[in-house]
Symmetry: C2
Subunit: 323 residues, 2 copies
């Protein structure tokens, strides 16, 4: 009879589906970090399994916890020191399809410029055609450097390859891949930067990657280069990136991850301390690259399967850590 | 000593490059259909080779013509009855890379909606993220029907396959292809329409394809379907398409080819008789999908090579017709 505590407020219908899928042997309590403190403390004291996203010192203790399952991939918001001995910590992916499509959408928009063409032809301006010649670029033949070659990097590489791009990966564990023209260790990042037309950040945020793209490295990139960040904002230093874009040290950026996020006190903040929103050479999105209509179904299918495996004492998928 | 008449005004430097590449054995006269009539008549009377784009009855006779080489792929503007016996007619492709990238850019923009996200997050609106949930679609798993499976269709299919789309071709010459899930003859178009999420028109314009997409066929498509036209405007009936988009008979369109083009009297016309420019569910571009910075180099490389083959009496590439 595992006790499951849901710390995250799931989409409508999801909790009912989970109760149905897991059956009557599970006790499921839906609460939240903002719930009544005594209730939250009691629930977590008895929890065998917690499903959540932000796991930090503001939460009451979870002394019996055997499985922490987060509902996303990135775990920079999880304080792993809070997990008791014997606890397993799992994450979930399934966002790599959406994010890979977003990355290709961004690179293609950068090269083709549909947005500007659409605006112009709606007023009878044929700029970009043979009637008013201006030539846009091709993705074909361009070099894509991928920093962090995990689930997302692989799905991006597979699609980019069909466009005849040259593709390299900068990764902690470089190895040959049929998707890649080259793979290099992190120590070779500086040497590889000058050849990249697009630099994609899709690595975890940790001590080694925080501020990885700084002023010095931005200056090593091509002036025509475009930085794409779908990792975490802080992988690129905010001031350095803003100033490099403003001053055309690099040509542009495609940014889905940010430096300021909505909070209880400000639900509609601008996404950075610096005015990225004033820049014309940035394609901006609200940490939405993976938010597709198929994502949650795929994620909850994996999470539910993992919960069943946990109950049956079987091997779990997507294990981040075993304590 | 072939006489070559250039009827098209090429980009700066191109004529000089051609003179250099072909060498002193060729006589090259650059003129245009709008040139002094006596001069044009004399040039064409002596022409062994003509390079042009619009070849119609307004031109003086070309009795000695042995090779007509157009500088594009579509030849609906060439009156082939004007070519004398013994004349060979060639076209040139090389736009399929740019057009395939455009088609994928359009489909991805349709699914991801970068344009709207960018506009919203610049004012602090996080719609589309987990902070303000709204889910965009995935290209993965969608069905793409390709009408006309030539150079463009193949390059689109190769890229779309990397996105795990289901891909079919409707073509006059259906045959198996590793790029396709199915291939069907034109007679099966109606039966295939209801399964397509995207319908791509990339066939030639001729008597069989003019008005191919009419009111009846638009009504056979999914209400969520998107029509993509990179062929010629007239392959889709203008009134029927406009009304289907306005009335949401289909969800949207990505249109690069049109019903009205710039002319000497109106250099900045709206691209249709009907107000497509007022529709929010259309991505519009000014017949620019293939206009990339690499296109002309590739095309003139092929044309120059063909002219050398012609002079050497060798087999020509891209022969449309031998009279």
């Amino acid at each position: 009879m595992p006790n499951l505590v849901m710390l995250e407020n799931p989409m409508p219908g999801r909790l009912e589906a989970l109760r149905r899928d897991l059956g009557p042997n599970w006790t499921i309590i839906a609460t939240s970090p903002q719930a009544d403190r005594a209730q939250l403390t009691a629930a977590l004291a008895a929890a065998d399994v917690v499903i959540g996203f932000e796991i930090d010192r503001s939460l009451p203790p979870m002394p019996r916890l055997k499985l922490l399952h987060i509902t996303g991939a990135g775990y920079d918001q999880v304080d792993q020191s809070l997990l008791p001995p014997g606890c397993t910590f799992c994450n979930v992916y399934e966002h790599e399809i959406g994010i890979a499509e977003y990355v290709l959408a961004g690179m293609l928009e950068w090269m083709v410029g549909l947005r500007a063409m659409d605006r112009q032809i709606r007023r009878g301006d044929w700029l970009g055609s043979f009637y008013k010649p201006a030539f846009h670029g091709e993705l074909s033949g361009k070099t894509l450097g991928i920093v962090g070659f995990g689930h997302i990097g692989r799905e991006v590489a597979r699609r980019a390859r069909a466009f005849d791009m040259r593709i390299g990966a900068i990764t902690r564990t470089p190895g040959p891949s049929e998707l890649l023209d080259w793979a290099a260790p992190m120590a070779e990042l500086d040497a590889r930067l000058p050849e990249c037309d697009f630099l994609l950040l899709c690595c975890p945020l940790d001590a080694a990657t925080r501020g990885l793209v700084d002023r010095r490295r931005l200056a090593l990139m091509k002036r025509s280069a475009v930085l794409i960040n779908v990792a975490r904002g802080e992988v690129a230093d905010e001031d350095a990136l803003y100033e490099a874009l403003r001053d055309k040290v690099i040509a542009g950026a495609i940014l889905d991850v940010w430096y300021v996020y909505p909070s209880r006190t400000d639900r509609e903040p601008l996404p950075a301390h610096r005015p990225f929103h004033e820049l014309g050479n940035v394609i901006m999105s609200p940490h939405a690259s993976g938010c597709t209509d198929m994502l949650l179904d795929r994620r909850w299918m994996v999470i539910t399967e993992n919960l069943k495996r946990f109950a049956a004492g079987q091997e779990l998928r997507n294990v981040v850590l075993r304590k």
